[in-house]
Symmetry: C2
Subunit: 327 residues, 2 copies
């Protein structure tokens, strides 16, 4: 099979392709080729048993989507997006890429005209929800985003459902939790501290905690994010019905519980590297974020995530640090 | 003030403009001009104390929205839409007019660049909901449309909220109940019988009831629909918050209750003109429609509708039949 990954140079896209290279197949099928599209070149996975192609293009330019599907990939994983902060600062760019780009893709598939009907995985976000909401957001709670990014993702979900209902493709929308622990350098995103306070101390570095330890949030590891994609790519979609946007499972905990998990996994010395530097601006932003979910449909459909924050930390140590950390 | 009505030649648009002509003003302000845009020419209201302009144009053509707002109307009532059945049959046309047309309008306002910030009323529909749903759909229930029309309306609501949140205009989204009793000739829409079984018998004509008398649905009169627009145009929008798509109040009743109300208002002879001709296709379509709502926000914000079906019938007799019917 041929797999197209839009946004294939990003963190989740890269890990997904690496997983495909390790697994050598998907859902019992051999993979002939993986095409990774992004605005900058994706690097090839190590030891891939399939052809790998990195394409740089801008999905939001008319005609690009048609080129991307010209080879009729059986699976399309659509991870390409302008992130929340940038979509808020640059209104036009956010709508052009997150909304128009998605429509170009969906319409290119619809208009292929040769019976083409790929599986399409659309990554959405818990940013489709906006405060006030219930302490545990149910699967049937309404989407009232408070960012342009969340609006664009909610619209993408609606389009995915309608295009699937009309039979143009076989879509699965997955709303990702905050992915934690993100590898790489400390992130300036408002959500960055959730990862920073784990990753940096394990690396022997100090990290800043800008919010109260009572802040509660919804997490899953990068390994789980890849697992969601694999499951969405291989599941029996006849079980989903027309409501194809699914809140993925995750683990809800407070920052205090994150720190306690770090203490258990890595010890007091590591925890001491977390410095409290309250930032009322970040505190205010985070206060508007979902804290917990009562996500029932996705687990019932076979999606799984971590069931403790210790597990999330251990995934990071295994997958990013080769099993070791700076004690 | 200058008021622009998009879809101004349709039933609700026409009645709204006639109401403005009778009232002579809106929210205590004098009306200088009303522009009615549609794909066919709107007729002028009788005895209007304001200038009236009928424009024919296609909002879904690039550049048309800019022309429509060139005079910077303070109030824009956006009723223009391809209806449900047609949007389902002609996928491209539905998206072009209901989604692209709406975006052209919203973006033209956003890009005006001279501090222009009109009140924008967007008429949505209970078609944003798709079965299965609760017997009474709450204000926080999710929108999972099962038609392309409902999808386009749900997307319009999301855009309206985001553009309002960003300060580009002051939007109010109103989800209309099924408008009953619709004046005019019997309608072939699946929902047409709700009006036909009242309007035709009052006119001395037979009408066909294609579904079970146990079918329950959600109604408001054309007079209430106009009242929703007037209230949305004049209300204090600082009370709404960012969730600007509101399920309008309505009256929920079964077809049996509709018929009983007709009996009370008009007598047994009129009721006898309803013929039962079961149509399993229409029965199936109607089974997927909302039956009732627990709409709390809109009434709390001052929107009102009828509180009995007898009242809905009397509104029809008063407004359309000059107070008389064929007994």
């Amino acid at each position: 099979m041929h797999i197209l990954v839009l946004g294939g140079a990003g963190m989740v896209g890269r890990k997904f392709i690496e997983r495909l290279a390790r697994d050598g197949g998907l859902g019992g099928k051999a993979i002939a080729k993986v095409t990774a599209q992004d605005v900058f070149p994706a690097s090839a996975p190590a030891n891939a048993p399939f052809a790998f192609e990195a394409l740089t293009s801008d999905l939001s330019q008319p005609g690009e989507a048609e080129k991307l599907i010209a080879a009729r990939p059986e699976l399309i994983v659509h991870l390409a997006a302008i992130v929340s902060g940038e979509a808020e600062v640059d209104f036009d760019k956010g709508y052009r890429i997150n909304l128009d780009g998605t429509r170009y893709l969906f319409d290119a598939i619809r208009l292929a005209g040769d019976g083409y009907k790929p599986r399409v995985i659309f990554t959405s976000s818990i940013a489709v929800f906006g405060a006030p909401f219930h302490d545990k957001i149910e699967d049937e709670f309404f989407t009232t985003p408070l960012t342009s990014y969340g609006t664009q993702k909610a619209i993408g979900e609606l389009l995915l459902c309608d295009y699937s209902r009309r039979g143009f493709f076989d879509g699965v929308g997955i709303r990702l939790p905050t992915i934690c622990v993100r590898p790489g350098a400390p992130n300036k995103a408002a959500s960055g501290f959730f990862s920073n306070i784990i990753r940096e101390p394990l690396n022997g570095q100090e990290a800043v905690l800008p919010v109260s330890e009572q802040v509660r949030h919804w997490h899953a590891s990068p390994r789980s994010a890849v697992g969601f994609l694999i499951h969405a790519a291989t599941m029996d979609t006849s079980l989903i019905g027309p409501r194809r946007a699914l809140t993925m499972p995750g683990y809800s905990c407070t920052v205090a519980e994150q720190i306690e998990a770090l203490r258990k996994v890595a010890g007091e010395n590591v925890v001491k590297r977390i410095k409290r530097v309250p930032d009322p601006v970040i505190d205010g932003i985070v206060a508007g974020w979902p804290r917990n979910f009562d996500a029932r449909r996705a687990p019932a459909l076979g999606f799984t995530a971590e069931s403790s924050f210790e597990e999330i930390i251990r995934v990071h140590i295994d997958d990013e640090l080769g099993g070791k950390f700076v004690a």
